[in-house]
Symmetry: C2
Subunit: 765 residues, 2 copies
C-alpha cells in the first residue's frame, strides 16, 4: 500500500486537502475570476462622516468614455437596506450619510481604469451634520441622534448579574481596579472584498463572492433589492482570508444591483486595500472599567465591570459582539458575584463588525490584567491564582451558566506550568542583554464556540458518490483558509475509508449545497462536521449495502470500504466505487444529513437586555505565556518566545490545530503591539499597509503549541472550535510580561513603543 | 380533529390504504392495462410430457388474417434459459420437451381471437420419449434421465442429523410411524399470469407484469434473452393474488421476446385459467415416511423421516422448498435426536414452485398427525403433549438451530387451551346431529420467515416528500393483496405523524424504487418495513430540520410532525409540508435507507447437501383448532368452527393480521379437503375451476383469530411475517379432528368424502 492509497485518518497530521492546489497556484479564489465581456463596478463613497445627501451629479462621470451607468438609490426597487440583525444599512445612501465610507453611487464601466476615474468625477452635494466619534459623547444628553428611528444612540444596553457583586466587593480581602481600552483592528485578509455577478436569462442572479455566509447573503441581497431569495445563487470559493470581515454584506448588494443593470453581462467588483480599510468592517474599539476582588486565600469573590463598544455607523453585529464580550468578561474563572454592564453605541465612525474573537479579545485584556494585579496584591504566584480559580465542569461561569460540557482550562494551565518557559523563567529573565528587560507574562483565556441561545446554529451536509466513483463533499460553510474543508475531507476519509485521491470537496454553492450558517464563531468544523459525519455514515452504510447487493452477500457486516472500493475479505471479492456508481441512480448516490448544535436547556435568569446569542454552551480554553524583551531605549517590545496550550477537545489534525493557534497568536500579537486603524473625525488615516501595520515574519517568534487533548462529547470526533481563542492571549500575556519586566502597566492597547516609553518615563519621574 | 386528520397508528385496525381504490374498482392491476395499438402474444404449448422437438410449421398460423409473427427458439439471441437457482427452463423449447406445458412457439397477433386460433394452427413434430410421473420411478435404476446435464433425476438430496436418531428411537417408551402424502395444489389467484411490454426507442424494454419479484425478473429476462438487465424496466402494480405462483418468470421472458419483435408496439400476454392451471407453477406433491418416539413422560426423544418432493420438469425452487420442509419436519418441538432425509426429484409433471408455506404444509400434516398418534399411544392429552414439548427461546429446533429470536408456540397453545372450543369440546361433540360424528383436532405449527442463510434478504426503501407536500412511499416489494403496502402506509403514518390523506404509495417500479427482493417467505413487511422505518425516520428528522430552518428555531426537539405540516407548539407556528416541499430541492425530498435481515451467525453443522437458505432465524408460530362434523353417509367433512392463535410478534394492524390468518386458513381448508391438481400421464385433468375445486363461502366457517401478542426484537414495530403459518394448520387439525370424531386416519390428503368413506368402511369391515 503506497502512501496515496492510505485512507485519511482523524488525529494524524494529514496534508491539508486544500494545500496542493493552493501551493501550486491552481486554487481559484473569487478574486481570480475574470469572465469575458465583464463590466466593472465600483462604489462612490460619501467621504464625510455625517450629512444629508441632497443631490448627485453623474454627468461628468457619464461623459467619460467607457462609463456605462451611474446608479443611485433611485435605481433600487427594494427597501435598499441590509444588516444581519437590524436592516439599517443602505446599499446606496438615499438620505443620511452616517460614515465616510457610505456608498452613495455605483459606477459601471468597461474597464478598471475608466471606473477609477469615473468614481472621482461623481459630484455629491451633502449637507454636513454634527458628527459623533466618541461613544461617551454619543451617549451624552443632547447628542445628535444618528438613527432617527432609534430611541437613542444606544444600539444595546445589557446587564449580567449573578449574586450580589456590590456587597461582595466590600467583603474582599483584596480588590483591584483598572480602566482599559483596546484598538480598532482591521482584518487585513489578503483577498480584499470582491465578487462577480450576472443576471441570468431566467431573471435570477448568479454570484461568486468572497464571503463567509453565502446562504445568508441571499437573504441580504434579496431583501435589499426586493428579489425572492431563491432566485439568487451564490457560490463561495476558497477565501483568501476572512476573519469575520466577510461575514455580512460587503460587495453583495452592490454587485447584484450592478448585475440588474448590465444586460446580462457579468459584473465584477473588487475593493482596493484602501477601500477595504476605510469602508470594510473592523473590530469594535472598546473601553472597559473593571473592579475585581478576592478573599484572603485567593478565591475570586466579586467582579464588577462596565464595557462600552463602539459599533460605528450601523448596527451590524454590534449588540452580539458586546454580548459575547460580557459573557466572557470574568475570564475562565469561578466568580460567585458578578455585575457586568455593557453598552454598544452608534457613532459616525466606520462600521464595526464580526472579527475573530468577536468581542472577547477586548475583555481578555482587562480580566487577565486584573488577575495579575490581584496576584500581586495577594502576593500570590499568578499561575497559582489562576489554577485555584480555574473553572471546572459543573461550575457556573461569570454569566451564571453551568458548564456541562468539556472544560479544561486547568489542564491548559498545568501544561504551561510544566513547561521550562515557566519554571525556568527567573533564570531566563536574568540573561537579559544590556539596556533591555525581560519579562514573562501569562494569560488564561477562553472563547465560546457557536452562535449561542435563540440563534439556530445548524448545518446540512451533503456527500455524494460521483459517477466516476469519487467521494464528493459538498461543503456548506465557506473555507476562509482556516482549513475546515481539509478537516471535512479528513473526516470523510476516516469514515468512508478513502485516501486523498478518492476525495473531492466542492466549496459552497447555494444551488448544490445546503444552508449551514456562516463561517464564524468557531462553529464550522463543529457544526458542519457533525452533520457531515452523519451524512458520511449514511453513505458508508449505503455503499456497503449496494456492494453487498452486487456481491449477493448475506451479511453486510463482512464488507468494508477501502480507497476506491468496497471489499469482502472473506471471499476476497471487491467492487470498485466507480462500478458501484454505475449501478446507483443519482438520488441514491447522494446522502444528506443535518445537525443542530445543542443549546442551553437551563438558561440562567442572570442576563437582562440580551437579544439573541446567550448563553453559550461550549468553550475552548487556552493558557498562553509570552517571553518578551523590552528595549529600554526605544520602548520596543520584542516577543522572544510564545507558548500556547489549548483545550480544543479532540484534535482532528495536529498540524492544522497548530496552524490555527499560530494564526490566532500572530493576529493577537498585531493587536497587542501595533495594529490600530486610526481615524480622525471619522476619516480613516491608516488606510494602507504602509500606515496600518501588521506583524511581519520578523515580529512573530516561534510559537509553541501544545494541545490539551480532551473530548468534547458533542463534537465531531470530540473536537470543538479553536479558531478564535488564541487571538485572546497575546495582548494580556504581553501586558503582563511588560509589568513583569519593567513594573509598568499600559492599559491602552496597542502596546506601542511610544506608550511603553511614556510609561517607563512615568516610572522614572 | 376529524377522523381524516388523525395520523395513522401502529397497532390500530386502520382501514387498509389499498382498500378504497380496490373497493371502488379504481385500482389498476396489470391485467387492466390495455395500451392502444397493442399486439397480442400467446404461447403454443407442447401438449406431450416428454419428447424431442423436431420441427415446427407455422405456415397455417401465419396464413391466418391478423397473425403477425410466430417466434421460435431460433428467434432468441440469448441462452434461452431462465430459472431462479438453476437456469434450466427454456423460454421456448429448442430441443427437449419436458412437460406438457412447455412453450414451443410464441404467436403474435392483432387480436385475441386471431391469437387463439393461430395457436391451434402451429404444427409441431415432437418425437415422444419415455416419461416419468412418479418420483420413485424417476429415482429407479435405469430410469430415463430428464436433464442430460444432471447426474440423475435427483435435483437435490439433503440430510439433517442431530444427535443419534437411530439409537434414540430404540430408547423410546412410545414410538409411532406413518406414511403420508399431500396433493398438488394450485395458487388460483384471481388475476392469472399476465403483462404488457414495449420496446422503447432507446432499445430498452419496459414491462408491466403481475409479478412477485420485479427486480429479479430483470435478471431472468436479461439472462434468457441476452439483454443487460439495466435496460429492462419492470413495474409491478397491485397483484390480484400471487401466493408464490408469480415468484419467478411466467410471462416475463415471452413478453420481452414478443416486444423485441413488435416494432415498438405494446404487447400483451394474458394466460387463461386453463393455461394457468396447466402451465403455471403449483405446489410440490410430497410423500413422507415418519417415525417419531417419546420417553415415558411424553418428552419427545427422536424423529426419523424421509421426504420426497416432486419438482416436476424443472428445478425452479424445488430444492429450497424441500429444504424448508426438512427444516420444519420436526414441528415446533424440542426433539434431541433427528434424522431427516429429503429428496427432490425431476419428473415429467408440470413444474412445481413457490407457494404459501413453501414445503412446510406438507410436513405439518405429518408431524402433527404423529403428535396425536403419540398422545394416543402415551394416553396423554394431545394438547398437553404439545405444551410439554413446545420450543422456547434458547432451545434448538429439529435442525439443531438455537432459537435466539421470539419463540412463543407455548403462548399460542395456552390461548387455545383457555378457549371454550377446547375445554367445552366434549359437550360440543355430544351434540352431534344424527348420522354425524363430531371431532376436535389440534395443530401446533410454525413457519420460518425470510430467505434463510446464504441468501441476501435485504430491502431498500425510499420515501419522498412530493412537490405537493404528500408523503410518497416507493414500495420495493410487490403487494399480492396481503396488505404489505397498507402496512407500509401505516408505518409511514406512525413515524411521520401523517393521516391517510397525506400519504401515497407507489407500487414497485424498477426505475424509481430499489431492489428489495421478492414478495415471498413472509418477509415483505419485515424486511422492507425495517428499511422503511429507517427511511421514514430520516425523512422525519429532515422535515423537522428544514422546518426549523424556516422557523429559525434553535432547538428542533420542539418541532413535531402533524398531518400535512410541521408544528412548533411553543410558538404556535407551523409550516405546511407543501410549503416545505417548495423550499427543498428534489434530492433533499428523498430519503433512502436499507435493511439486511440478520442471518444465523452460529450455523450448526447438522445439515449436509443443503445449497442455500439454511438455517432460518425467525419463525412465526400458531396453534390451530378445528371443530368438524363428519357426515357418516357421505363422508363429507364439514368444518364447523376454526380457531387460530398466532405468534406473529407485534401486530401492526389487528384487522390485517386477522385477514392474513383468515386467508391462510381458508387456503389450508382447500388443501385439506378438496384441492388436487390431478394429472394423468403428465396432462392436467383439472384444468378449470369446474374440476379444480377451491373452498367457497359455504365451505369456510367463521375463523376466530387471536394474536398471541409479543415482540420480535428485530422486526419493524416488533412484527414478524405471518402470511404463511396459517396455511399449515387446517390439514393436520382436520385430520386429527377426523380421528377424534371417527377413529380413522386418512394419511393421504386431501381428505375427500370418498377417502373418508373408504376409511369408515375399512373401520366397519
Amino acid at each position: 500500500m503506497t502512501m496515496d492509497e492510505r485512507q485519511l485518518e482523524i488525529g494524524r497530521p494529514e496534508i491539508r486537502g486544500d494545500a496542493p492546489a493552493k501551493a501550486r497556484g491552481r486554487e481559484l479564489f473569487s478574486a481570480d475570476i475574470y469572465p469575458d465581456n465583464l463590466v466593472w463596478a465600483g462604489a462612490v463613497r460619501a467621504g464625510i462622516p455625517h450629512g444629508r445627501l441632497l443631490s448627485l451629479d453623474a454627468s461628468a462621470a457619464l461623459a467619460l468614455p467607457g462609463v456605462l451607468r451611474v446608479l443611485t438609490a433611485r435605481d433600487i426597487d427594494g427597501p435598499n437596506r441590509h444588516g444581519i440583525i437590524h436592516k439599517d444599512t443602505p446599499v446606496l445612501v438615499d438620505d443620511l450619510v452616517r460614515y465616510s465610507g457610505d456608498a452613495i453611487a455605483l459606477v459601471l464601466a468597461e474597464s478598471a481604469s475608466a471606473l477609477r476615474r469615473a468614481i472621482t468625477l461623481v459630484r455629491a452635494e451633502i449637507q454636513p451634520l454634527p458628527a459623533l466619534f466618541d461613544p461617551d459623547e454619543a451617549l451624552a444628553e443632547g447628542a445628535p441622534q444618528l438613527h432617527p428611528d432609534q430611541a437613542s444612540n444606544l444600539l444595546l444596553a445589557a446587564e449580567i448579574r449573578t449574586g450580589d457583586a456590590e456587597t461582595a466587593l466590600g467583603e474582599c480581602a483584596a480588590m483591584v481596579e483598572g480602566e482599559f481600552s483596546t484598538p480598532v483592528q482591521a482584518h487585513v485578509f489578503l483577498e480584499t472584498e470582491n465578487g462577480t455577478a450576472r443576471l441570468e436569462a431566467d431573471g435570477g442572479i448568479s454570484m461568486t463572492v468572497s464571503t463567509q455566509s453565502p446562504f445568508r447573503d441571499r437573504f441580504e441581497v434579496g431583501h435589499a433589492l426586493g428579489i425572492p431569495f431563491q432566485r439568487i445563487r451564490i457560490t463561495s470559493p476558497s477565501l483568501g482570508g476572512g476573519f469575520g470581515g466577510k461575514d455580512g454584506a460587503t460587495v453583495q448588494c452592490l454587485l447584484a444591483l450592478a448585475a440588474l443593470h448590465s444586460e446580462g453581462r457579468p459584473v465584477r467588483m473588487q475593493w482596493s486595500r484602501e477601500e477595504n480599510l476605510s469602508a470594510g468592517y473592523r473590530r469594535h474599539g472598546c473601553r472597559m472599567r473593571y473592579r475585581m476582588g478576592a478573599l484572603e486565600d485567593g478565591t475570586l469573590h466579586a467582579l464588577q465591570c462596565d464595557l462600552i463598544y463602539d459599533t460605528g455607523a450601523y448596527a451590524h453585529l454590534g449588540g452580539e459582539v458586546m454580548e459575547l464580550g460580557m459573557e466572557h468578561s470574568g475570564g475562565p474563572y469561578r466568580i460567585p458575584h458578578t455585575l457586568i454592564r455593557g453598552k454598544c453605541v452608534f457613532t459616525n465612525n466606520p462600521v464595526a463588525g464580526a472579527m475573530r474573537a468577536f468581542g472577547v479579545c477586548q475583555v481578555s485584556f482587562a480580566f487577565e490584567s486584573m488577575m495579575d494585579l490581584l496576584a500581586e496584591k495577594l502576593a500570590m504566584d499568578p499561575l497559582q491564582l489562576r489554577r485555584k480559580n480555574a473553572l471546572v465542569r459543573g461550575d457556573r461561569n461569570c454569566a451564571g451558566m453551568r458548564l456541562d460540557t468539556s472544560t479544561n482550562i486547568a489542564g491548559c494551565l498545568e501544561l504551561l506550568e510544566e513547561h521550562p518557559f515557566w519554571h525556568e523563567r527567573e533564570e531566563w529573565k536574568r540573561q537579559a542583554p544590556p539596556h533591555t528587560r525581560r519579562g514573562v507574562g501569562l494569560a488564561a483565556i477562553f472563547n465560546a464556540a457557536g452562535y449561542g441561545g435563540k440563534v439556530r446554529d445548524a448545518a446540512i451536509a451533503k456527500v455524494e458518490l460521483s459517477p466516476e466513483g469519487e467521494i464528493v463533499v459538498h461543503n456548506g460553510v465557506s473555507d476562509m483558509g482556516q482549513g475546515n474543508s481539509a478537516a471535512f475531507l479528513q473526516m470523510a476519509g476516516q469514515i468512508l475509508g478513502q485516501d486523498a485521491s478518492s476525495l473531492r470537496l466542492h466549496q459552497p454553492d447555494t444551488l448544490t449545497a445546503y444552508p449551514s450558517g456562516s463561517s464564524s464563531a468557531g462553529r464550522t468544523t463543529y457544526t458542519f462536521g457533525n452533520a457531515l459525519i452523519k451524512a458520511c455514515q449514511d453513505l458508508k452504510a449505503r455503499l456497503i449495502n449496494r456492494a453487498g447487493l452486487l456481491l449477493f452477500t448475506d451479511n453486510d457486516d463482512e464488507l468494508r470500504l477501502a480507497p476506491g472500493k468496497v471489499i469482502h475479505p472473506p471471499s476476497q471479492r471487491e467492487v470498485p466505487l466507480r462500478q458501484l456508481a454505475g449501478f446507483m441512480p443519482r438520488e441514491d448516490r447522494v446522502c444528506i444529513n443535518q445537525f443542530v448544535a445543542p443549546v442551553c436547556r437551563d438558561v440562567p435568569d442572570t442576563a437582562t437586555g440580551f437579544f439573541i446569542g446567550f448563553p453559550h454552551l461550549i468553550f475552548a480554553y487556552a493558557a498562553h505565556l509570552a517571553r518578551i524583551q523590552v528595549d529600554l531605549a526605544t520602548g520596543l517590545i520584542r516577543v522572544m518566545d510564545y507558548l500556547a496550550t489549548t483545550d480544543g477537545g479532540g484534535v482532528i489534525n495536529p498540524a492544522m490545530f497548530d496552524q490555527q493557534v499560530h494564526g490566532g497568536v500572530a493576529q493577537g500579537l498585531g493587536y497587542a503591539l501595533m495594529e490600530d486603524l486610526v481615524t480622525s473625525q471619522g476619516m480613516v488615516l491608516s488606510d494602507d499597509l504602509g500606515s496600518y501595520l501588521i506583524p511581519g515574519a520578523q515580529d512573530v517568534p516561534e510559537i509553541v503549541s501544545i494541545p490539551c487533548q480532551g473530548d468534547e462529547e458533542s463534537g465531531p470526533f470530540g473536537m470543538k472550535g479553536i479558531g478564535e481563542v488564541a487571538m485572546n492571549g497575546p495582548l494580556p500575556a504581553i501586558a503582563n510580561a511588560l509589568a513583569d519586566a519593567c513594573g509598568i502597566r499600559v492599559n491602552h492597547a496597542p502596546l506601542t513603543p511610544s506608550k511603553v516609553l511614556a510609561a517607563l518615563s512615568g516610572l522614572n519621574e
